[in-house]
């Protein structure tokens, strides 16, 4: 690795040190070895002039400063350094989930707290923005719901599966009210009027799906 001239490399290093110091002192004269490669000197001057230090945007700087301050506050309080924004608030809705007849914004409007603005609900309708919209209203969530559930991605998936299962069950119950099924049930209930046993059997048959 050092076969490329450690002596030359030391000369170059001395020149670079001198270049930096000269800039700091605001002088143009840079000391250099007489044996130093002039091409290296020119390249160093060119790089020194062109490789500028870049600064991020003010918005980014202040945003990250705020995030660091929040993390610092949590660390001081002995809490986890992970920001809650990386988690998600799912409200355990006390109302029945039946109103899923409505879709999109209307459905969210029925389930979401009243504080959520229409714009946030519209964002929620896009599918993913709901957690952020909810987090902006986190204090209101906490006061309205006695037991807010804070979960990560697994919890969300579980909630989605549960909601899906309820929806499928609801669809199945509706599907049973076709004219044919209503007619069969009416005929069976008519036969079962004669005795209690027949009525119970009809109910049992209805549950088991036996129509003969």
């Amino acid at each position: 690795m050092l076969g490329g001239g450690p002596r030359d490399a030391r000369r170059t290093e001395r020149y670079l040190d001198g270049l930096m110091e000269a800039e700091e002192r605001g002088v143009a004269d840079v000391p250099m070895d007489v044996d130093i490669d002039s091409a290296v000197v020119l390249a160093a001057r060119q790089l020194r002039a062109d490789l500028i230090r870049v600064h991020p945007s003010f918005r980014f700087e202040e945003g990250l400063a705020a995030r660091l301050a929040r993390t610092a506050g949590r660390m001081s309080a002995g809490l986890s350094a992970i920001e809650p924004a990386e988690q998600l608030v799912v409200r355990t809705a006390p109302a029945p989930i039946a109103p899923f007849r409505a879709s999109g914004v209307a459905a969210w409007a029925e389930l979401a707290p009243a504080e959520l603005a229409p714009a946030e609900l519209a964002a929620a309708d896009d599918g993913i923005a709901t957690p952020a919209a909810g987090l902006r209203k986190l204090p209101a969530f906490a006061t309205r719901t006695p037991r807010p559930l804070i979960v990560g991605g697994v919890g969300v998936a579980s909630a989605a599966i549960s909601i899906g299962a309820v929806y499928v069950a609801w669809r199945w119950s509706r599907a049973a009210h076709t004219p044919m099924v209503r007619a069969v049930r009416a005929a069976r209930s008519g036969r079962g009027d004669a005795s209690g046993h027949g009525r119970r059997a009809g109910v049992l048959h209805g549950i088991l799906g036996v129509t003969s």
């Binding site: 050092l2 001239g5 450690p6 490669d37 490789l51 600064h55 990250l64 660091l68 660390m75 350094a81």
Partner: protein, 212 residues
């Protein structure tokens, strides 16, 4: 930031070789909110390093954020690691400008940037501007080339092998000493000297070729 960090008893207990950031580091360790001073001091340096390495404004911002979050949450562990940086590879001499915190911070940056580059290689993403045939406004090569002929210098640096380019950026953009670069890159000082010397010769040859 006006709080007194070192008491008399502490000063006597400290080793003689003090990191120039030790006061800020100690303050941040006692009160994480004081990390802000270190953040403001090194933001541009870390961001520049990430920017020149990743050549993408957004990727550099992401990397910078990760670096400072990791640094702040990992600061309690810094004290034990700091001694390994002090004097290592430099015969025990630490110049007044040396900052072991900065070395530690840039080692985090190096790892974060390396992870970012690895992820990019697995999932290469082209900026939208590329698809439209436009130069990205925040592309280092394009921005510098558009500014002046000095773009040639940066393009020459961009063509350098990874380790040489990294050494050049740390030397010219972040103004690190050879000893600090050696600590950041995990190389010996001699190896870094040769890296820089060869890098300058390559840049010189590249620039000469362009001129001719």
């Amino acid at each position: 930031m006006s709080r007194t960090v070192f008491g008399t008893s502490e000063e006597t207990a400290r080793p003689a070789r003090l990191d120039r950031d030790r006061g800020l580091v100690e303050a941040a360790r006692r009160d994480p909110a004081c990390f802000d001073a270190l953040y403001r001091k090194y933001l541009a340096q870390v961001y520049s390093y990430a920017f020149y390495e990743l050549r993408d404004h957004h990727a550099a911002e992401d990397a910078t954020e990760r670096v400072f979050m990791q640094a702040m949450t990992g600061l309690p562990r810094f004290e034990e690691r700091a001694d390994s940086f002090v004097g290592a590879g430099s015969g025990g001499d630490v110049s007044a400008d040396a900052s072991t915190f900065r070395v530690w911070l840039f080692r985090i940056a190096r790892n974060v940037v390396a992870n970012e580059r690895r992820r990019d290689r697995r999932r290469p993403v082209a900026p939208l501007e590329d698809a439209q045939g436009l130069a990205a406004a925040d592309d280092v090569v394009e921005a510098v080339a558009a500014r002046e002929a000095g773009g040639a210098a940066w393009q020459a640096v961009a063509r350098l092998p990874e380790d040489r380019r990294r050494a050049v950026v740390l030397r010219f953009v972040d103004e690190m000493s050879t000893a600090e670069i050696a600590e950041v890159l995990g190389r010996s000082e001699g190896a870094v000297r040769v890296l820089l010397h060869r890098a300058l010769r390559s840049v010189a040859a590249d620039l000469r070729g362009r001129l001719s």
